[in-house]
């Protein structure tokens, strides 16, 4: 990774695959599965995995086959009561899992059924998902590499050969004509001579064409100059295959849960691995990469997932920075998130669909300024702005409020030293 490479977004294809997958699931169990999944996440997921791995409690894969439904109802609703009755099976489970009482869950029998249905569906689906997604990514990459400049070069070469051939043919025909008609044999002209002749015979057309080409070239140069240093769509490979799609999309985790400081600091903050451990102490396997990627967090923290202990050899994770503002720009997240109440998506796009973090916005000065020109200042219920508003002389108030809003730029938000110091 010596430089930034711009990759075609693969997320669209992934989205398509997921969509198709969703349809491939049998429609009959769809309703139950959705309910069951929701219920599972709200009641069970904090301690149990739907697979076989143990979190706080055991993995629930196959639990529907292992135990009687009636017994499960009792156990889930109030396990300690069941143990107290002296139920042998209950005591066995209690003993097996280090005598940790499973708290009573406020669920109905119907809900438990739905959860069990979901577990069944999960068990059937799980292996397929991983395979499909991995396959999908490969496909996309293959398609990506097919697109190249070689084809264009080839076409140009073909054209050149064609021109030479046609000229040769034309000459042969002219020469043949001349021989037949007994005229003087025409001299074979070189390509350059022919070109010069054509130009000299059509000066106006070529002059116009030249000017147009120059103008187009200049326009292209001008446009591309604006693109210098703009890395919109930058999507570098990261040390951990962290998927925002899974965390923010599927699991619906709020942005602020991990990027805690966005609301009070200059930087939104990359979560430190100890924050990951809030969930990943127990969630030790991911749906896509299994233990491999989560294992990298453990490696950073020197965490042993079996004994659940931390070692001394902790090493930080070196993420690749995606959003690189130049050093002479000051940007403060909290100003925009907490005060301006700007949604994260406004600048970062549909993060919940990204499998790899990427730069959504241009992050150019023009982009910033445009937003500052259009965006309304969130003056309501803020003592600071009350004071500022009071201080505005009437004529300014009138001038600013002509369009009904006071924008950021009207309060000086596009002045140089608001961002450059």
């Amino acid at each position: 990774m010596n430089g930034i490479s711009l990759k075609k977004p693969t997320s669209y294809f992934l989205a398509l695959f997921s969509f198709l997958l969703a349809f491939s699931v049998s429609t009959t169990s769809l309703q139950a599965q959705e309910d069951g999944e929701k219920l599972f996440k709200s009641y069970c997921a904090s301690c149990h995995s739907p697979g076989a791995n143990q979190l706080v409690g055991p993995g629930l894969a196959g639990v529907y086959d292992k135990y009687e439904k009636e017994w499960l109802y009792k156990w889930i609703k109030n396990s300690s009561a069941l143990i107290a009755t002296g139920d042998a099976q209950a005591i066995a489970v209690y003993e097996q899992y280090n005598k940790v009482i499973m708290p009573a869950q406020p669920v109905t029998n119907i809900q438990i059924d739905a959860i069990l249905d979901y577990l069944k569906v999960y068990a059937e689906k799980a292996p397929t998902v991983a395979a499909a997604v991995v396959g999908g990514t490969e496909d996309v990459i293959a398609e990506d590499s097919g697109l190249s400049g070689y084809a264009i070069a080839g076409i140009i070469v073909l054209f050149l050969i064609l021109i030479i051939l046609l000229r040769k043919v034309q000459y042969i025909f002219t020469a043949a004509n001349a021989r037949d008609s007994g005229d003087e044999m025409p001299e074979e002209t070189t390509l350059t001579q022919a070109l010069a002749l054509t130009v000299s015979q059509n000066k106006t057309i070529f002059a116009v064409m030249g000017i147009v080409c120059l103008a187009l070239f200049a326009k292209g140069g001008w446009d591309s100059a604006f693109g210098v240093g703009v890395f919109q769509g930058y999507e570098p490979e990261q040390p951990i295959m962290f998927s925002h799609k899974l965390h923010a999309g599927t699991n619906g985790i709020d942005c602020n849960y991990c990027h805690t400081s966005a609301s009070y600091s200059k930087s939104a903050g990359i979560p430190s691995p100890n924050l990951c451990m809030n969930c990943h102490t127990y969630i030790q396997e991911g749906p896509e990469y299994g233990k491999e990627e989560i294992g990298k967090i453990y490696a950073a923290l020197d965490f042993d997932p079996v004994t659940k202990t931390y070692g001394p050899n902790q090493t930080p994770i070196k993420w690749v920075k995606v959003h690189n503002l130049p050093d002479h720009v000051y940007f403060n997240h909290s100003q925009h998130v907490a005060i301006g109440k700007i949604a994260c998506e406004k600048c970062h796009g549909p993060v919940e669909t990204y499998t790899v973090g990427k730069q959504y916005a241009e992050l150019t000065m023009g982009w910033c300024i445009n937003c500052h020109r259009e965006t309304k200042v969130q003056m309501a219920d803020n003592g600071y702005y009350d004071e500022i508003h009071d201080r505005l002389p009437d004529e300014l108030k009138k001038q600013y409020l002509e369009d009904g809003t006071i924008t950021v730029s009207e309060l000086g938000g596009i002045e140089c030293s608001k961002c450059h110091y």
Binding site: M1, V228, L301, V320, I388, P393, K418, H420
Partner: protein, 1018 residues
Amino acid sequence: MSNNKKYWKGLEELNNSPSFQKVKSEEFNEYLPAEDFLGDKEVLESSDTSRRDFLKYLGFGVTAASLAACEAPVNKVIPYVVKGDKTNPGVANYFATNYFDGFDYCDIVVKTREGRPIKIEGNKKSPLTNGAINARVNSSVLSLYDEKRYRAPQMGGESTSWSKFNRTIKKRLSNAIVAGGKVRILTNTITSPSTKKLVSEFVAANPSADIKHVSYDAVSASGMLEANKESFGVAALPTYDLSKAKSIVSIGADFMNSFPSSLELTSQYAKGRKPENGWMSKHFQFEASLSLSGTNADVRMPMKPSEYGKTVVAIYNYLNGNKSGAAPKVKMAAEHLLSNKGESIVLCGSNDKNIQNVVVAINQMLGNYGKTINIDKPSFQRQGMDADVAGLVKELKGGSVDVLIIDGANPVYNLPADMDFKGAMSKAKTSIVFATRPNETSVEAKMVGAAAHYLESWNDENAVAGHYSLTQPSISPLFDTKQLQDCLMYWMGLDGNYYDYIKATWSAVTFPMQSQSLLFEDFWNTTLEDGFFSLNTTESRNATFTDNSASGVSAIAKIKSSELEIEFYSKVGIGSGNQSHNPWLQELPDPVSKITWDNYIAMNPVEARAKGFATEYGEQKDADTINITVNGVVYENVPVVGQPGQAPGTVSVAVGYGQVIGKSNEVIGFNAYSAMKGMKNYSTDVSMEAAGGKYQIATTQTHQTVMGRTSIVRETTLDVFQKGVKDNYNPAHMLATHEGPMNINDVDLWAAHPVATAGHHWGMSIDLNSCIGCGSCVTSCNSENNVPVVGKDEVRRSREMHWIRVDRYFSSTPDSLETRSYGEMEQPEDNPQVVHQPMMCQHCNHAPCETVCPVAATTHSNEGINQMTYNRCIGTRYCANNCPYKVRRFNWFNYMGYDKFADLNPSQDDLGRMVLNPDVTVRARGVMEKCSLCIQKIQTGKLDAKKESRPVMDGDIETACSSACPTNAITFGDYNDKTSRVLAASQSTRAYRVIEEVGTQSNVYYQTKVRNVEPNIA
């Protein structure tokens, strides 16, 4: 203007030399040899670069640069592995702690970002220092990131591990103790109760051995300590309250700089200098060299240092009714003291116990004890007894010391040469030195403990009776360093670490003194948060007074003067020399001489001229050198500098120099301590001769001249001010118009800028009466705004980058009371009056710089700030040319990358770069920069207010200079806030704007200086 004074920044301007005239008309006076080159055909033809080549390279360069710009480097972002609760990237944390290096004591607040200390500010809560801070303290953050620091303990010149180091010492100590040998601990003054307790426990635990702790001060106050012991039975310094003193008489005491407790005294002094209060203290200064305090005195009299004693006696006699023979100014001072009994203070900087005894008697006679001076609440900031050090050296030379432990002191460097500490130290069987970086003493030691920086250490201090403070680390040790206390605990076989020990001490000693907290943990946490714990009432011991004045007077009578005397003084930047390796301090222009990066022999300019020495210095003008012998120590080829105000027949030299700085170990100046025989701060045994050499001097004296627009300084006397006619002391600028004279503010070419009515309108007010010129603002600004260090060579070329400078104007009146002979006018250089004027971007509402910028890189904000946009600047420097205040700075080089600055610029290495403020751009080569009114702090202050849903309160936002000002001379605020202090100040009768007549409508107001002096007395 009410006076006919002539103002001059330096001797160049006073004498208006031709070269000065040339320099002042050239803002950028670098010489470009274009004419020589183009005019000479041969030179032109012999050049191997043809025009074609030039264009080729140009084309290639442009293309390469554009291509390079297309590829951006891959940046890494590395989160904490385990993030602390309060450590948030992008959010500053503040820790209250304190600074004490044996010279300055200061309660401070350390600003950290991402866990790194980046700025030091005064602790505004502290009742002792009142938030005052000086340049030395606020620059000390840079020494934390010093490349040259010891990174591990050393044994025999090799790095070793702490366990080996400590085991070795423990063994040697126990051997010495078992054999009943001598163990000596030498430190600078220690005020830490825990350290003292630890040392005394160490002594008590080994009764069989001879263990002694000796402390000494590089700049000794032994004379005062002894005098107080003899007079009151307390070997300590009294505390003063200058804010209550109406009459302040200082005889050779630079109480704003080098006198013990200078920070406390400075902040108190300013409180008594507000003419609006209806009274103002009157400050008399009798001294040889023009000190910082001397520049602020109302009445100053130059005299030889050997005459300090006689002056003290003259005042003593005058107070006793013996009024004959007193010099006019002495008489004036004595009269003023008499009329302000109980509201006066007499201070003396002499290290002679006899003189101090008489000073004590004078203050006693005036009834000042218990009112302005408190010996019952002593200060412990100087404890070194000269006799103890001499005793230790004798012991060492005798070879009887087994183990010598030195911490926080550099005796090889700052003890006089005749003591030969180096030789003495080599005779100790084991010598252990704790130092943060290699110094003269540590390189001689057999074992060197890599000491932790104070920002990495735990400690406690008891600087003044009843004021206890905690030193807490704001960063974990950068290197493998430890404190002496931790090691000592190991050597003693104690469990735990020094932190636990301090806690235990506080639990046992300090906690019972208070009643606010019931639980120790609460008390501890509150103290850590505040940084100190202060008792409102102190146990009053009412020390009984023993009059030793008679013996003092008779001893003083024996003091002999000589033709030529030398005074040793401490410079404002370097102080005692503890931080002479700090480039910020070296580049801080001395408030008096405006010379950077050097010490020198200061001489009266009239005498210097008579001896044929140059008295004007610049890029092309060097100082002359002399060979000088002081107390038998010879200094060869040292520069001599003409210093206005220096007493005739004296020279002076700053201590603290002669140490190395930078990666290349360049020696700056020469070590004057070597000649301080007997730790006396002057000598009569001086001889000198011209050496015939030349020496380059880097002075900022005549840089940024203002083309004779001396109306920028306004001053008056208390009398005139109190009569209340504003036109007499601060007249409005009137402009002749066709409608008759009009106030300059009513005549305008441009429409009024809307800042006056909408939103914020930031501005500043600077009280020339409070400003003492100490330069604390300059280094604070360096630290806050990533101002680069340019080095001596560049300062000589007027390329210093300081955003704020303190202009020092000398002024002289035609007639003065103190005359050389009756009827003859005093030479202006002999005893000029001084005005210090901080000068930075004035943020003009009608800024001349803005109108000439071809690329609109400098523009006006709707909050009244003149904005400088570096990324837009193309470096035409038109703005600097058009600035009437000469406050814009041009980046001639890439200071953070160019080799020439690698030696000194802290931003050049990874370690030094940690001190940079991440909120402020590090400027590139070729752009202009200037004061931004700390825009980053304004933006933060506004954002904090928005988050808390409240208006910005007055005082919420402080600029780096205003927060660092020990006298609160600088006030920052919002003119649109009707309750703000800055608005009130701008409307006061003393308020004026500098060079107002050109109509810049600046947002910085100055307050006219008021001297408490009768007209015609300097």
